[in-house]
């Protein structure tokens, strides 16, 4: 058993949750980008998590980020002929970012980040006390 595995486990979760927060920030920042080409419109991005340990195994591990996927929902089409980005038909395409989804995701990610940070802090205190064993 590795003494510092708690730090590895909670650390992997911190990295995963901060990636999720970054993706939320990116989605919200690009929410109002418009373009005349539906294929070039920004699509909302989300992280896919997977447990780093094999199912039914006795090994313990943190969380792996399998990858970042782009949402396949079609971009929002809007008639806006005055927009310099509009195509010859006067249409612009806005990203398929849903602000409500993003806010909910942000809250969930920040709460998870907090709880994993708490895990690291507690584990650190316990190990420091273990180092002091027999000195009191």
């Amino acid at each position: 058993m590795n003494t510092f595995s708690t730090f590895d486990i909670a650390g992997s979760a911190l990295a995963a949750q901060s990636l999720r927060l970054n993706l939320t920030a990116s989605n919200l920042a690009n929410m109002h980008d418009v373009t005349g080409d539906p294929a070039a419109a920004y699509r909302s991005r989300h992280a896919v998590f997977r447990a780093a340990s094999q199912p039914f195994s006795n090994t313990l591990a943190g969380v792996d980020v399998l990858g970042v996927v782009e949402s396949t929902t079609a971009p929002t089409e809007r008639y806006d002929p005055g927009n310099p980005q509009a195509n010859p038909e006067g249409m612009v395409y806005a990203p398929n970012v849903n602000a409500m989804d993003e806010m909910a995701n942000m809250i969930s990610a920040s709460r998870s980040y907090q709880s994993n940070l708490e895990v690291i802090n507690t584990a650190k205190q316990l190990l420091l006390r273990t180092l002091m064993l027999g000195q009191g």
């Binding site: 058993m1 006795n58 507690t122």
Partner: protein, 127 residues
């Protein structure tokens, strides 16, 4: 000879391992299909007793005895409210258990430390 720490050594190891298990649960709170796990205290206690009361082979002609098999202490949690993505981690409960485990770890640490001070008192005659 019994180790100076007695059962507290096994207790500390159990608490440290449980800390990892609960940390893994909390780390995977947002992982789809992750099954929360926990260590079963009574299985771990049985294991510690089995290890302590193991028969010793003092002669080469003795039949080697395998330590008594005891149930695997790592069990899957039955969730109160399973979520749609198949994840069975309940973050609030897991953090409460993590805190409880941390306090128990400190208690075991204190007991082990007291053994050391008792030995020191015996060695120095209380001076």
């Amino acid at each position: 000879m019994e180790s100076i720490f007695g059962i507290h050594e096994a207790a500390l190891l159990y608490r440290a391992k449980r800390m990892d298990v609960l940390a893994a649960n909390l780390a995977n709170a947002d992982t789809p299909n992750y099954q929360a796990r926990d260590l079963d205290f009574s299985s771990a206690l049985d294991g510690a007793f089995a290890a302590a009361t193991q028969l010793k082979a003092t002669d080469p002609r003795h039949i080697a005895l395998e330590p008594m098999a005891h149930g695997d202490a790592l069990k899957y949690r039955v969730p109160h409210q399973p979520s749609l993505d198949g994840n069975t981690v309940e973050t609030d409960l897991e953090s409460a258990r993590y805190a409880e485990n941390a306090v128990s770890y400190q208690a075991s640490l204190l007991f082990a430390g007291n053994r050391i001070s008792a030995l020191r008192t015996a060695l120095t005659g209380g001076r």
